[in-house]
């Protein structure tokens, strides 16, 4: 057993546990995007960053891939962590504003601006589809091809793969291409929606700042269309 402290709380976990799992065990919520319980951790989205401190030195690590070590001091919600997370969401939003999951994360974490060059990609290279295809569907039909800014996900030779069984697992798990944000503000400059944020929550579950995170709720999106922009 390994002893470590998360946000000052002592916890004992088994060898090989990741920081994310240890935090989850304590009920500490760390947002994730490319993490899935049934798949191997990948550390692509960087949303799960936490701060680990050793004396006065501190560094940021992705909690989904960092193994718990003896005496480690982990802080999941320090100011610099929250700032880094906001920046990560902002970067994702600049890449792929059409994703409802990313737009929801932006609303939830108070991202109100995108300071980067706006792109309209359909993929954030999180690798979830590649992993579900390999690890759960045992197919290995798709994978990363190319490198650098040309790295993308496709089948061999960009043609239908012989080993693909059209199970749809890749589309089911995709945070970007499946569930699209149809909010009213996505097409505008800056491509940040935040529409759900400004509406009376029609859902049962809501937060103090009137945000709905029913999954997927979408009622607010439909309502947003009927409310004049000046009143939002």
């Amino acid at each position: 057993m390994i002893k470590l402290s998360i946000n000052g709380i002592e916890v004992e976990v088994e060898q090989g546990t990741t920081l994310l799992e240890a935090a989850k065990f304590l009920g500490i919520n760390i947002p994730t995007l490319c993490y899935n319980d049934g798949l191997s951790p990948y550390g692509a989205c960087r949303l799960c960053v936490v701060e680990i401190r050793d004396g006065t030195a501190s560094k940021m690590v992705s909690s989904c891939t960092y193994p718990a070590t003896e005496g480690l001091k982990v802080f999941t919600h320090t100011e610099s962590v929250l700032k880094a997370r906001k920046m990560v969401i902002e970067l994702h939003l600049a890449t792929c504003p059409g994703s409802k999951i990313i737009q929801d994360l932006a609303s939830k974490h108070g991202v109100r601006q995108v300071r980067f060059k706006q792109e309209y990609e359909d993929c954030i290279n999180c690798g979830l589809c590649v992993r579900i295809c390999e690890e759960q569907m045992m197919a290995k039909a798709i994978g990363f091809v190319g490198r650098g800014d040309k790295r993308h996900i496709t089948t061999p030779f960009d043609i239908k793969s012989d080993v693909c069984r059209l199970c749809g697992g890749c589309m089911y798990i995709c945070p970007a291409c499946q569930l699209r944000c149809h909010g009213p503000n996505v097409q505008e400059e800056g491509a940040i929606c935040n529409a759900c944020l400004n509406l009376e929550p029609p859902c049962v579950d809501y937060f103090d700042d009137q945000m709905c995170y029913m999954d997927p709720c979408v009622v607010c999106e439909q309502a947003a269309d009927r409310i004049p922009k000046s009143e939002r």
């Binding site: 290995k140 994978g143 190319g146 089948t155 061999p156 793969s161 080993v163």
Partner: protein, 161 residues
């Protein structure tokens, strides 16, 4: 390539994951590129998913998935070459060969590629054709350098034809 040759390559390098790159290198050396059928065959033979071979082949720039010409012309655009006018050398090469980077001439003789550093910065701007280093290249010299390879080809072609 006949399948026996591919089998030989696989058995010579060992039928395991760590021999993927040597196997691909040998196929690349034989064909000057990695043909689809060969990749499919070794994928089956070595029991490695095709996508994995495709990922590796597309990752390393020394592998090519499209046929390459007989001579590979690499124009260095690294920092040192760049400041010494590598772009003018590249423009001249494009004009002489009438192709863009990563393309092959119609007669399958030359493939033009740009690279980011060849580690011979003191010789910049540098052009590497096959394994010959042509240092201190100027745009004016490009035609003469290319001509050396053209003449060799023509002789070679004459004998084969």
């Amino acid at each position: 390539m006949e399948q026996t040759k591919l089998d030989e390559i696989i058995s010579a390098n060992g039928n395991n994951r760590k021999s993927i790159i040597p196997v691909l290198q040998e196929i690349q050396a034989t064909y000057n590129y990695l043909p689809k059928e060969e990749l499919q065959y070794i994928s089956e033979k070595m029991d490695i998913p095709l996508i994995e071979l495709f990922s590796i082949a597309s990752f390393y720039s020394s592998f090519s998935l499209t046929p390459r010409g007989k001579h590979l012309v690499q124009v260095c655009l690294g920092t040192a070459c760049h400041v010494r006018g590598a772009h003018r050398v590249l423009d001249e090469s494009k004009k002489r060969l009438q192709i863009e980077p990563d393309e092959t001439t119609d007669d399958q003789q030359f493939t033009l590629k740009t690279v980011n550093c060849l580690g011979a910065c003191a010789l910049g701007p540098i052009v590497v054709i096959d394994n010959d280093y042509h240092g201190n290249t100027r745009a004016q010299k490009v035609n003469a350098i290319l001509a050396q390879y053209k003449s060799v080809n023509n002789n070679g072609n004459d004998t084969t034809e």
